[in-house]
């Protein structure tokens, strides 16, 4: 078991390196040397100093290595636009909010989506099933900014129940989390339902019932555990969705998170901020996939013995 985990962790390192490399290459294409831009009136001598400090006078490959070293030591460099601010500072200030939003949205999706899917599966082919599936199909298709707008319109403006922006009080966190988590919730419901329906047909479920086990145990243990396996594999890419979705939600609800900052950084050509943030986001995605793989290994013992 441990060997399995170690092996998976080991493989994330080259992946991360490649990701950094790709981002690095892509960023280089944008505008070459950021210090030479005419909008920034940096005196020639200072420019040369800065270049030397940031290794910009060395070949690109060397720059890449320096950057990787930086990442490994959690030093993502300074912002190129805002004087005196490091990327790390920006991250520390804005990132936690985005993470919180993402976590709440994810929790909402699970807490509402999974039971919904289970209900639909256990009441297969009844009104409950059809209703739940219709509901989740619709909400999977609706873009999150529509959900957000509708929520704001009806709950915040009409009913005046919850605030429309900011990320301060616990009330202000409800609507954005729900808006972001809606589509994932619908996806979970569909996946859980499909998976459970398939599991319920399996022979070993029949065996479990033949043993006289209480129905609750049959469903709760035998069925649920096996149903969740394919659902978990879908959870990985879902994280990617939540990250991208948060950009939009943060914009609508005026939440000072990473998403907002990212776009600003790109338009202002803040080279290091964009790099740093992208690497950060990529690391999260990779880490999430790693977790999913490990979880999969825990739940399905067959994968542990297979070659990774």
């Amino acid at each position: 078991m441990l060997k399995f985990i170690v092996r998976r962790i080991f493989w994330t390192i080259p992946v991360l390196l490649v990701v950094i490399f790709l981002t690095f290459i892509m960023m280089r294409q944008i505008e070459g040397n950021p210090f030479r831009q005419t909008e920034r009136n940096v005196p020639e001598s200072i420019q040369r100093n800065l270049e030397r400090k940031f290794h910009l006078d060395r070949p690109w490959f060397v720059q890449y290595l320096y950057y990787v070293k930086g990442v490994a030591t959690f030093d993502l460099g300074p912002s190129l636009v805002i004087r005196g601010r490091d990327v790390n500072d920006i991250v520390k200030e804005h990132f936690p909010k985005s993470v919180e939003l993402g976590i709440y949205a994810f929790l909402f999706a699970i807490v509402v989506g999974v039971p919904l899917g289970m209900l639909a599966a256990l009441r297969h082919n009844t009104a409950v099933d059809y209703g739940a599936m219709f509901f989740s199909n619709v909400f999977h298709a609706v873009p999150s900014f529509l959900v957000a707008t509708l929520l704001i319109y009806f709950v915040a403006l009409e009913a005046g129940a919850l605030p429309t922006s900011g990320w301060t009080t616990w009330q202000s966190k409800i609507l954005p989390s729900i808006a972001l988590g809606f589509a994932p919730m619908a996806l979970f419901a569909r996946l859980v339902r499909g998976s459970m329906l398939e599991t319920l047909q399996q022979d070993y479920v029949r065996t479990a019932r033949a043993k006289g086990l209480r129905y609750r145990r049959v469903v709760g243990l035998h069925v649920l555990r096996n149903s969740l396996i394919p659902v978990i594999t879908a959870a990985g890419p879902l994280l990617g969705f939540i990250i991208t979705g948060s950009f939009v939600i943060e914009l609508i609800f005026n939440i000072p998170g990473i998403g907002q900052y990212y776009v600003t950084a790109v338009s202002s050509r803040d080279y290091s901020v964009v790099m740093g943030l992208t690497v950060l986001l990529a690391s999260i995605v990779i880490f999430a996939n790693l977790l999913v793989d490990i979880l999969y290994g825990i739940l399905d013992p067959r994968t542990r013995d297979a070659r990774t």
Partner: protein, 338 residues
């Protein structure tokens, strides 16, 4: 008194294409300490019969429309799901055909045995584990205690079937239903599993129903046999009597399809195959269901009326208008010593 008595059981499947009468008037009894064999080709209703006894038929499309299953004084078809859960595993146990898929791949073998024990008896996990190890030894799995912690995919097909048997025996049931227990196994493994079942049956003083399409298996394992065709019982007799003096044309054909190497029944020439196919069970005609494939059919008794099950000899029942001993030119069957 018989341990289990099935009386005129009818289980129908209500589907969009029509009502499939999978089990249509099946009656038999299982005596204490004896083994009943149920033979028939695929689709004849033998598995559905077994599942109906256990109440494991899929309830939305299927339903037991009439008949009774008497076990120790109560009619199983009238019990609630909770009451049935008490009977399953504890009084009547069942093992299934495909050992590869019948065990949960994500739980250890030990868990799957102990959860059965702890469901029906109030014992601690440790005691249950001990019993589970004993059971694995009993079904001849080496290094039983270590193996408890293994997952099903670490076992071969034959060993998984033994695990299934261990699970089935864990609560000392009075009746074991084995649905095609050897069909999915290699021939050499088949023999050992059958031997195991036989030994255990005697040791636990258990009754058994063994369902199969393989005449060789019932010849070895069963005391009495019922032959099923198209959802009905077409012949019922003791094993000896059935093999020596088959009455129903279908049974004859089944036995005729068996290769005989020596003995009185050696034939020259080809094995006889039974032409045609079983009838569609959605709207069976009110006539003998075997008629279209029977070489003796023709008179009104077969084509206009459905023959009833009647006792042609002591302990030998047949559902046919033309049983062997009544055909012209047939020799009278020798009385078989009981």
């Amino acid at each position: 008194m018989a341990l289990l008595e099935v009386d005129d059981l009818r289980t129908h499947f209500f589907t969009r294409e029509g009502t499939v009468r999978a089990v249509d008037g099946v009656s038999f009894a299982v005596e204490k300490g004896k083994t009943l064999g149920i033979v028939g080709e695929s689709g004849c209703g033998k598995s559905v019969t077994a599942l109906s006894i256990m109440g494991l038929i899929p309830k939305p499309p299927a339903k037991i429309v009439s008949g009774s299953v008497m076990y120790e004084g109560s009619d199983l078809t009238k019990l609630s799901e909770r009451e049935l859960e008490d009977v399953r595993g504890r009084e009547i146990a069942m093992i299934f055909q495909d050992p590869m898929t019948s065990l949960n791949p994500t739980l250890t073998v030990g868990t799957q045995i102990t959860e059965t024990i702890r469901r029906h008896y109030d014992v601690s996990q440790k005691q249950a584990n001990k019993k589970a190890a004993e059971l694995l030894e009993k079904v001849r799995i080496p290094r039983a205690a270590e193996r408890l912690l293994d997952y099903p995919h670490r076992f071969s097909g034959g060993m998984r079937q033994r695990v299934m048997i261990a699970i089935a025996l864990s609560c000392d049931p009075k009746l074991l239903i084995a649905d095609e227990p050897t069909t999915a196994l290699d021939v050499t493994v088949q023999a050992s599993v059958l031997d195991l079942l036989d030994d255990l049956r005697h040791e636990y003083d258990m009754s058994m129903i063994i369902i199969t399409h393989d005449m060789g298996v019932v010849a070895e394992a069963a005391d009495d046999i019922i032959v099923m065709y198209a959802g009905q019982v077409v012949e019922r007799a003791s094993t000896l009597d059935l093999f020596d003096n088959p009455e129903h044309p279908y049974t004859e054909a089944l036995l005729g399809a068996l290769p005989q190497i020596e003995g009185a029944n050696v034939r020259d020439g080809r094995l006889t195959a039974i032409p045609g196919r079983p009838p569609d069970l959605i709207d069976p005609p009110a006539a003998c269901r075997f008629g279209p494939r029977c070489r003796y059919a023709g008179s009104d008794d077969c084509t206009k009326h459905e023959p009833q099950l009647r006792e042609i000899r002591s302990g030998h029942w047949v559902r046919s208008a033309h049983p062997a001993s009544e055909r012209a030119g047939s020799r009278k069957p020798q009385e078989v010593g009981s």
